[in-house]
């Protein structure tokens, strides 16, 4: 038995490049020795010290060291992509890569970011991409590490965000250590994540790894941008590079996004220009600032309404044509609707009522036309239902909306007549008046409960806004749905990085880590990163506080501490009411009280500055100023604010 298992191992070690004693002679003796040991009767199963071996110079030695391993080359491959960082919880299945990264690779480009959970690593990648526009590399342990990472990968998948995931695994049985390594090995490692990764591969050779590394990057960055996964075999990592091996890393391509069919784009332009009431709805549309600028240009040419779903910052929040507060009315009034990268077009075009008998109805007026321009149709999978309900669309253009926008704008410019231009201007004035009225109403709404405790989310939002609006540059890295979209209603957000949208799959645990990832990318830009951080989300991946402290990632988490999973409180209450039962138990399983969590203390324990809990709204301004000062010194800070539910 031992002969069968040991022989290939020794043979493998025989061609070590740079080994202490390499060559045929060195190989021959250990082989003979092993054979002799196997033939001898096993009188005592406990190995005894071999005094002769310890005191005499052996004729030849087994090669136990290696000058350059496969993992060194693998790091070269990853360096060729240009990754700045690699986030991971350390794990034996990628120990070769880990060691090569920190020693051979100098722990630079990429630099190892220590994470307490793979969900932190992946969610950091989610936020990082939204600023950097390049994926973060993460390493994950075979099986268990990838299992931890999956929810965050799924969030990124739903949000069209690429994450570059490298997972350790050891295919050959004789290469696995008995016990735990088997638990951390899978026949098809990527299977668990295949439904929400765009492409995966398990390279069998180093050359294969080189090609798959570059291929994965190209696939991830081609819209629809999505996560990818490469399995790095343990033996491939740790074995020496074969002498004379001719390894080559392919060129890293520039990736051009696919543009829409020219005829379809021209037809869309014709419909928009000739419409009485065209409406643009933008969802996961603006990948870059250029996308924002082009949307504004198109809207201003047409003087039409724009509805921003808040999946990204698509349209400046205070632009007069931003009609997001009147989304349903705009859909009802529209005779042509152009959806841009819609993840749930149906929900924008229909109303839906969550009562015992669920019902829905179309919001569109008779004869209204619908166009969709988006890359979602270019790549779709079956199992997970994130593609949402099928919407009635008259013209579907499968292409990247941002890349197609210049061509659409040119067509619109070409078609608009002087008479139409005058009509459009009158239309725009009406929208501008409506927008102003919406802002005034939001200001009025915010006054209710202004001095209340728990603190209203309107007060919290406006106190944060008062402190950041005069900063040279800033980024709100948290979704806003849990605090009633106050920033969209009252802040001036006009840059792509001012708001990063939502978490895609809405798996809880996105915000804290994604905002840390965004702050990592914002750090070199000198940009202040703020997250209004839900408490339940924070608890999911609270270890990210330590990662931020350890790596000096400056982020201000303002905890929206409503002491519960408030969405779920409302769901349980809804069903209890539907079942005609008492409402006294909706808090069971949904609230985070008894004891209340002191997040400032938790933060202090993690090495972050912690402030709070703040219960009096009059204390907010000073706490925020103090927190921002800390963050501007290059450190993370958490402010715990006890808030209303929504």
């Amino acid at each position: 038995m031992s002969k069968k298992t040991d022989l290939p191992n020794i043979k493998r070690r025989g061609f070590l490049k740079g080994a202490g004693l390499a060559g045929a002679a060195a190989l021959a003796t250990p082989l003979k020795a092993v054979a002799a040991q196997s033939a001898a009767p096993a009188r005592n199963p406990v190995p005894l010290p071999n005094r002769a071996a310890e005191t005499q110079v052996p004729p030849a030695m087994e090669s136990l060291t290696v000058g350059r391993s496969g993992s060194d080359f693998m790091i070269d491959c990853l360096k060729s992509i240009g990754f700045e960082y690699m986030a991971a919880n350390p794990a034996s299945s990628f120990r070769g890569l880990h060691e090569s990264l920190v020693n051979y690779g100098g722990n630079k480009d990429p630099e190892f970011l220590t994470c307490s959970h793979e969900e932190v690593s992946a969610a950091m990648g989610h936020g990082y991409y939204k600023i950097e526009k390049k994926p973060l590399c993460i390493f994950a342990h075979g099986t268990v590490g990838l299992q931890h990472a999956t929810m965050a990968l799924y969030n990124a998948w739903c949000d069209r965000v690429p994450i570059y995931c490298v997972v350790g695994n050891t295919a050959a049985v004789e290469e696995r250590r008995p016990g735990i390594e088997w638990n951390h090995t899978a026949q098809d490692t990527a299977l668990i994540a295949r439904d929400y990764t765009k492409w995966d591969d398990y390279p069998a050779t180093l050359q294969h790894f080189a090609e798959s590394t570059v291929r994965a990057y190209k696939i991830a960055m081609t819209p629809p941008t999505l996560p990818v996964l490469i399995v790095a075999d343990g033996a491939l990592q740790e074995n020496p590079i074969e002498e004379g091996a001719k390894l080559r890393i392919p060129k890293l391509p520039e990736v051009a996004a696919p543009q829409g069919d020219s005829g379809a784009v021209a037809e869309t332009a014709r419909m928009l220009v000739n419409a009485e009431h065209p409406v643009l709805i933008a969802d996961r549309y603006a990948r870059t600032q250029e996308g924002n600028d082009r949307l504004v240009e198109l809207a201003e040419l047409l003087q039409c309404a724009v509805v921003d779903t808040s999946a990204r910052l698509n349209m400046p929040s205070r632009h007069p044509l931003n009609q997001s507060g009147r989304a349903r009315g705009q859909v009802r009034a529209a005779d042509i609707i152009l959806g841009l990268e819609m993840s749930d077009y149906w929900a924008s075009l229909n109303s839906y009522r969550d009562q015992l008998h669920r019902s829905s109805e179309s919001l569109q007026r008779a004869g209204s036309k619908t166009v969709h321009l988006g890359s979602g149709d270019l790549y779709i999978k079956s199992n997970y239902q994130d593609f949402q309900r099928f919407a009635d669309v008259d013209l579907a253009i499968a292409a990247d909306a941002e890349a197609t926008m210049p061509a659409l704008i040119e067509q619109v410019k070409r078609l608009i007549t002087p008479a139409q231009k005058a009509n459009f201007e009158a239309r725009g004035k009406k929208f501008a008046a409506d927008h102003l009225a919406d802002v005034q109403r939001a200001r009025s709404d915010a006054t209710y409960g202004w001095d209340a405790s728990p603190i209203t989310t309107a007060r919290l939002s406006m106190e944060v806004w008062a402190q950041i609006k005069n900063e040279p540059d800033w980024c709100l890295a948290s979704p806003t749905s849990t605090f009633s979209y106050w920033p969209q209603r009252l802040w001036t957000m006009d840059k792509n990085h001012h708001f990063l949208g939502d978490g895609g799959g809405m798996g809880i645990g996105y915000c804290a880590s994604a905002s840390c990832g965004a702050a990592l990318a914002n750090r070199k830009r000198g940009r202040l990163t703020v997250a209004i951080q839900p408490d339940g989300d924070l608890l999911m991946t609270i270890g990210v506080l330590w990662t931020a402290a350890h790596h000096k990632i400056p982020v201000l988490w303002v905890v929206h501490n409503n002491r519960g999973y408030h969405q779920e409180v409302m769901h349980v209450q809804r069903v209890a009411a539907r079942h005609m039962r008492g409402l006294a138990n909706a808090h069971v399983g949904t609230t985070l009280r008894d004891p209340n969590i002191d997040y400032a203390k938790v933060a202090e324990g993690m090495g972050c500055a912690g402030i709070g809990p703040i219960t009096d709204p009059k204390d907010l301004a000073a706490a925020l100023r103090r927190g921002i000062d800390i963050v501007k010194r290059g450190e993370p800070c958490l402010i715990d604010v006890v808030t209303q539910g929504r």
Binding site: R353, D354, Q355, L356, H357, R443, S444, D445, A446, T447, Y448, G449, W450, A452, P454, T456, T457, A458, M462, E463, W465, A466, T480, S481, T482, S484, Y485, W486, R489, L490, H566, Q567, V569, M570, Q573, R574, A576, A577, R578, M580, R581, G582, L583, A584, A586, Q644, G645, R646
Partner: protein
């Protein structure tokens, strides 16, 4: 099926109750202090906020403070809600409790003038 039938029966009862209340027109006298307690314990505050400020956006309840809604409409919305608000039948929230909650909501003071709050003025 039984659930549907039961719910339908309740709807009929609540519609009748709502219609009766509508016919009455005027608000019954309610205990605002008790209403405040009920407002919290039965969970109105979850969606509408502890001071009736509303949840805002697409996920919260409407503002109740200073809403200027008549009691019959308030009761009817509770029993037979429009849109997505959960239905609260009389066996769960009796008319007396509704009247008390209404008294509390009606007692909420109007907010400060927006012009008096510097943070709400650009």
């Amino acid at each position: 099926m039984n659930t549907i039938l039961r719910a339908s029966a309740v709807l009929v009862v609540t519609l009748v109750a709502g219609a009766a209340a509508l016919a009455q027109g005027a608000a019954p006298s309610g205990d605002a202090a008790r209403g405040k307690q009920l407002y919290t314990t039965i969970g109105c505050s979850y969606c509408h906020g502890t001071v009736g400020q509303g949840g805002g956006g697409r996920t919260g309840g409407l503002r109740l403070a200073n809403m200027g809604i008549a009691f019959p409409a308030f009761l009817n919305q509770l029993r037979q809600p429009q849109d997505e608000m959960p239905p609260y039948v009389a066996s769960v929230v009796p008319d007396k409790d509704v009247a008390d909650i209404y008294a509390f909501v009606s007692s909420l003071p109007p907010p400060a003038d927006v012009k008096s709050i510097p943070l709400l003025n650009p």
